[in-house]
Symmetry: C2
Subunit: 219 residues, 2 copies
Amino acid sequence: MRKATNKLHVKPPWFNPELSCLLYKKGQFIFSENNRVEGLFWICKGKVLISKTGGLKREQIIRFVNEGNFIGCHFLLHSTTYSVSAKTLEDSHICFIDGYTFFKFQEHLTGFSMAIMYQLTADIKDVELNITKMAQKSVRERTAEVLLSLETFYGMKEDGNTINMSLKRNEIANTVGSATESVSRVLSDFKEKKWIDIDAKEIKILNRKQLSDLAHSSM
Amino acid sequence: MRKATNKLHVKPPWFNPELSCLLYKKGQFIFSENNRVEGLFWICKGKVLISKTGGLKREQIIRFVNEGNFIGCHFLLHSTTYSVSAKTLEDSHICFIDGYTFFKFQEHLTGFSMAIMYQLTADIKDVELNITKMAQKSVRERTAEVLLSLETFYGMKEDGNTINMSLKRNEIANTVGSATESVSRVLSDFKEKKWIDIDAKEIKILNRKQLSDLAHSSM
DNA sequence: TTTAAAACATGATAAAAATCATGTTTATTG
DNA sequence: CAATAAACATGATTTTTATCATGTTTTAAA
């Protein structure tokens, strides 16, 4: 994963002992989507790009990170896998802080701090994914997806299909990021296709699979 | 800001002493954009919606948060102001943890942990803003904005106007979330308007104000 | 340096979505 | 309950943007 070249030692402002940096060539990946998370990185010198590729139409560049910042804090998410990739935009010095070292210096972390960190990283993961969806999915696709996630979020009525929510069309539109009329049209279309049923304000899911296929069709 | 009703006490899993929750009615704001940050909140019971209004075309719903989660961790960002609003989707019990209490239970936090938390919150703020931009700005507007932020990120050549970057058109497109051809067209148009100059790969900013006006026209 | 490939620009067309307009249904309130 | 307002649906039109096609320029490689 990481290839050592020109190991050099630095002492970042937030850390007492010295850490060793590795030199990454321009364009080299620091970590890639689905890699197993083993620690976190600190950009000592250079510039990094965070992006998401995973099966979408095109690569989505999520943000640019300058030196002095951490990347890959997903690490805190209990060592699962990365949901994004990071690569250098120029030759860079990157410190790696492995999980063991991290936790050794976090011994005093209370359950409270841990809970907050855990959530912050989960939030970032969530919001980063959202950027990609917004940028790359159509209103139809996003609407299908929002319906399914609202079902999870709100839960269902006793019938097991009617979403227990009370969002207005314009609130759905504000979630999807479209005009209210577009949501109306898309929902009418879903209804016509018998994927959902609309009774007054209530939305009932009739064909979860079709909605899900549409929602994930460009991923 | 917060109106007390039915104060009740809970002991969240991550906290030893008891905390007091307040009852918020459905649709009530927990905090609003530009409010001064004085602590953070924990959803003991209920559901919350995070959105961003600030001068954009329409309200952008950023995410839905269920009970058991923190909201308003922007607090950690050195007590500035909220960049989003939070309101209840149903009657909810919300705990408030003020800054003093927070820090009292964080005494042991090292500079390292603090640095990470600081950055995580900054990242969230950044990415949340990005969702709103993606959802509500046109390709033209987003391109103008990306040019200006790349200028900040990369810095400029000696002339003080040429962006010191090496992104290809398709990388700009992947940032903006559009087709490569669209970026080409927009850049050609900016060039024709004499807002920028394109010399080989180099982009020179000629009229920062016009670009900025366009970039922020829907905000 | 010549050649091939990649990156870029631009026209034509199609598709997606916003906007405008209007009628209908559903809620709210006096 | 009637009156009014808000929410919703839907048609027509326009705008924005993607896609397809093709020519040009730049870059990299033989």
